[in-house]
Amino acid sequence: MAPPAQSHRSSSPSQPSGKGEVSDLKSQLRQLAGSRAPGVDDSKRDLFKKVISYMTIGIDVSAVFGEMVMCSATSDIVLKKMCYLYVGNYAKVNPDLALLTINFLQRDCKDADPMIRGLALRSLCSLRVANLVEYLVGPLGSGLKDNSSYVRIVAVMGVLKLYHISASTCVDADFPQTLKHLMLNDSDTQVVANCLTALQEIWSAEASTSEEASREREALLSKPVVFYFLNRIREFSEWAQCLVLDLAAKYVPSDNNEIFDIMNLLEDRLQHANGAVVLATIKLFLQLTLSMADVHQQVYERIKAPLLTLVSSGSPEQSYAVLSHLHLLVMRAPYIFSSDYKHFYCQYNEPSYVKKLKLEMLTAVANESNTYEIVTELCEYAANVDIPIARESIRAVGKIALQQYDVNAIVDRLLQFLEMEKDYVTAEALVLVKDLLRKYPQWSQDCIAVVGNISSKNVQEPKAKAALIWMLGEYSQEMHDAPYILESLIENWDEEHSAEVRLHLLTAVMKCFFKRPPETQKALGAALAAGLADFHQDVHDRALFYYRVLQHNVSVAERVVNPPKQAVSVFADTQSSEIKDRIFDEFNSLSVVYQKPSYMFTDKEHRGPFEFSDELGNLSIGAESAVGTVVPAHRVEANDKDLLLSTSEKEEIKGPSNNGSAYSAPSYDGSAVSAASQALSELTILNPSVPGLTPQSSLAIDDLLGLGLPEIPSPAAAPSPPLLKLNSKAILDPGTFQQKWRQLPISLSQEYSVSPQGVAALTTSEALLRHMQGHSIHCIASGGQSPNFKFFFFAQKAEELSTFLVECIINTSSAKAQIKIKADDQSASQEFSALFQSALSKFGVP
């Protein structure tokens, strides 16, 4: 007897040595094939086991195919199973030999034992050899009518397998209709569930070519069928329940009562031990209640506990998958989870991908009442051994600070981070302090005092260095040694590898120059010279630009480089809410785990039909465009509440009604400029031959910097047109739109009625878009479905860079259009509104 297979495997699993074994096996099998001696089954079993294990570890044992088939005449079920397995594995590569097996498989399909019938049928369908399909139809047909549910279960799956081998054979034999009959009448739930799976797959594939199939596919989603399944759901196995729930999620109930019926029917599924069932139920509930804002809220409340339990039970993989879904929900409705913030505290042992999700959720749920505890907890993580998590948590603290109104305590914490003397902590904290100052300039005193103590030598990371340099430039007035720190940084220009840092350095030294000209003059010269010689295009261009702007006019330069800043109220969101909505539509799928909608990670051919193209998917105008693709207006309202930009914040921005454009600040303090010109004019004494201010200062700068460059003519100021004419080719990128929409106050809010023709013409949003474009009003984003549509338009004055932004919500059932207009030029908004209304009223009129 040969030694046990395992030793062979470990010593030489390669092909050549396997060959000897295989021929050995072959002869042994041949000996046993005809034998009827008692105990022969046992030796067969040993041999079969050996064959199977060779097969599994990748040794080609197809050579013994004939012998295996010969040995298959046995009543031993384990032998049969092994034989079926072997045949199933090699039939595809040996279609000729597979023919040999048909005979005994067909015979077994008529065996008295239902288990053998089932197994034989399964193996028969798993051969997947195209020219054998004719032998399948008969056994499948009788299998579907078999007394034993086990055989029927197998047969139903067999039909699906047959369909994939040869669709026409399957359809010609009328199997789909048989399955449909079984699905609605069989007593065994597993048979029913398999029928559902098979039919869904077959009809979806057929739907593109056959009208009947697409009708049948629709019929699967009809009320009687869905309720037939839902009413029996408790009898199904847990996996089949997932299928049924998935089917129900595609069903569109006709009225609210139906929705409540379904939810009542399924409420106990939320308590199922199987997480897959729970999650599928949650998806169904969320989808059903999308149009009912208040019930949707209740659903969130209801699913909270089951989700949190799922997270804390099961394997790390399970909890991560659940956590990703929870993350999505928390991001959509943070206020609902704000009292459960402790669930998002990180455990020491958790893998960092879990911690990262939790940190994001903690950031999202922070509100006035829990901020203190959350920030305290986050500060604990800053001392974490896991450095990426420590960084992440510092960033989270910063994000919370940027969301909150009362940042007192948080600022203190951040400043403590700066004093922790750990490089990465300092680096992260610096970046945060910078952002914080941009939003809350009133904290500059406290922050600058601490930042001033940080030695720039201890800051190595580009982002942090850039942040530090930005602060040095911005607050050079308050930081005594700012010019000297900048100077020393410029001295090391060549050692600075990050272009970002060098760019910031240029800007900072410019700013510093306007505030403290005498001290910075030398550094500025050195920086511009180094910048002009820089190999990096952006750095070079910026240096050149600064140089020329200084040359043109110092006060203009200051207005360009260092205008008075408006505090930033909201930082742009990285992921557009349209994408988030799309992910939400794909709840309970991998999209949520990857945090990407499915079209981003699936091949084109596997994608379902989408309403939007990829380009549109990327078009992000941020929070305000949260209209999703299938969201009725009342949810839009709910959505708006989720947004970073809450209503009170909007009001805050209304206060200063200056138009937010950096280039036309109405008032600024010119004293620093005069000091700068002073410094320059002092220099001009060295070169008294040229009179006049402009050439004088330009030469002065040349002298100052020791450079000689040609002068450029200054651009002529454009005259503003008196009448409101719109630019038909206006362009505005989504980012700018988003930014402007946030910055500008609403200058006009009106409600128009839409003409009946207009309502009739508004079947899709595209129709209106084209129409408005004809009136030089362009759409940047749109969404919604009858009867509610939401649009964002923009228009520009014909000869001026003055933009109008419009949010337009049209409800076709009430024939009303609500518009909100925001404009750079407030005075023209009335005029624009009239124009917009006349354009809208012409919609649908031929």
């Binding site: 570890i57 288990m115 007593s187 996996w239 997932c242 089951p306 804390s312 455990q347 001392a383 799928s589």
Partner: protein
């Protein structure tokens, strides 16, 4: 494809396989290819999960244990599979094998709880929660109908049930009514949050000065649960900036493992003294003070007490020929019990 469906299914496959093969690793699978194939055949077809109920599988495919081997030798029956199809596939209680018979009818109900807690360096309880399971081991003949009720079901925060539990009685009276599967199973899992105290305290103190750090950890009973707390261990990972550590304790043993994990096993807390561990860390050169503080992970076990306070009121059995034996147990152990320093 719903991600949880795949993950749950894989977990279930792993459970079934390790149940069958008495463990799950590469070698075990290699030795039992045939059984694994047989099982997978019944559990999944064409990518769709079919039967994952261990009871049904066990009827279709015999376990490769010594008993069945002996049996097959003695009886001469070479097939290790029953000749008939399991009846349960068609029965309305798919989790129960058809009509098992036991000479001694017995049922055991265990409350197993895990306490997850996070304690701050100042001893304040940041978070304390209990995740519990009701595990039942039933060996009952026929189709028994069981009713389990709790004395204080209102403390439960969220519950999840085995499919056998009927939903309505729980909804209206918080009573668990079910026909149990045969053998060991998880009847229900639950969560109890907002607990006010932990049974033991762990107080770490770290003071660093001029390149060394003095450590002192004290452990004691904070809130006597009434039963002995045993198997207490305190574990923590040494921060990477520590060159060497010297730790001793007045009770139990301290081990520093190669992966820089320090483990102090205490066992039971003695009556006469509070266990403490103390020693020094030598920090990397150039470091004055310790910046990264270790988190101490504590484990313990308390037999006979469910710390959440959940109590079983009574267990009624119907549909049984003779009076069965009923057993109840409770156990609490530490889950993620961590103390920051």
């Amino acid at each position: 494809m719903p991600p949880l469906m795949a993950i749950e299914f894989l977990c279930r496959v792993a459970d079934v396989l390790s149940d069958y093969l008495g463990g799950l690793n590469e070698d075990v699978i290699k030795d039992n290819f045939v059984i694994v194939y047989e099982l997978l055949d019944e559990m999944i077809d064409n990518g769709f999960p079919l039967t994952t109920e261990p009871n049904i599988l066990r009827e279709m495919i015999a376990q490769p244990n010594i008993v069945s081997k002996v049996l097959s030798v003695v009886t001469g029956n070479s097939s290790n599979v029953s000749e008939t199809l399991p009846g349960a596939t068609a029965s309305c209680v798919p989790w129960r094998t058809s009509e098992p018979k036991y000479a001694n009818n017995e049922v055991y109900v265990d409350l197993v709880e895990e306490m997850d807690a996070t304690i701050n360096r100042d001893g304040a309880l940041v978070k304390c929660e209990i995740y519990g399971e009701v595990q039942v081991n039933s060996h009952l003949s026929g189709l028994p109908d069981l009713t389990l009720s709790f004395a204080n079901p209102s403390i439960l925060d969220d519950v999840r049930f085995h499919p056998c539990v009927r939903f309505r009685p729980w909804e209206s009276h918080q009573i668990l009514s079910f026909v149990p599967p045969d053998g060991q199973f998880k009847l229900m899992s639950y969560r109890v949050k907002k607990l006010k105290s932990t049974p033991i305290y762990v107080k770490p103190q770290l003071t660093s000065d001029a390149g060394t750090c003095r450590v002192n950890v004290m452990v004691g009973i904070r809130n006597d649960p009434g039963k002995t707390i045993d198997s207490i261990t305190v574990q923590f990972k040494l921060p990477p900036c520590i060159l060497s550590a010297d730790l001793t304790s007045n009770h139990g043993t301290v081990n520093i493992l190669t992966n820089k994990t320090c483990s102090w096993s205490i066992g039971r807390i003695p009556k006469d003294k509070a266990p403490s561990m103390s020693g020094t860390f030598v920090l990397e050169t150039g470091l004055e003070r310790l910046h990264v503080f270790p988190t101490f992970q504590v484990s313990f076990r308390i037999m006979g007490v469910a710390l959440s306070g959940l109590q079983i009121d009574k267990l009624d059995l119907k549909n049984l020929p003779n009076r069965p034996y009923k057993g109840f147990r409770a156990l609490t152990r530490a889950g993620e019990f961590e103390v920051r320093s």
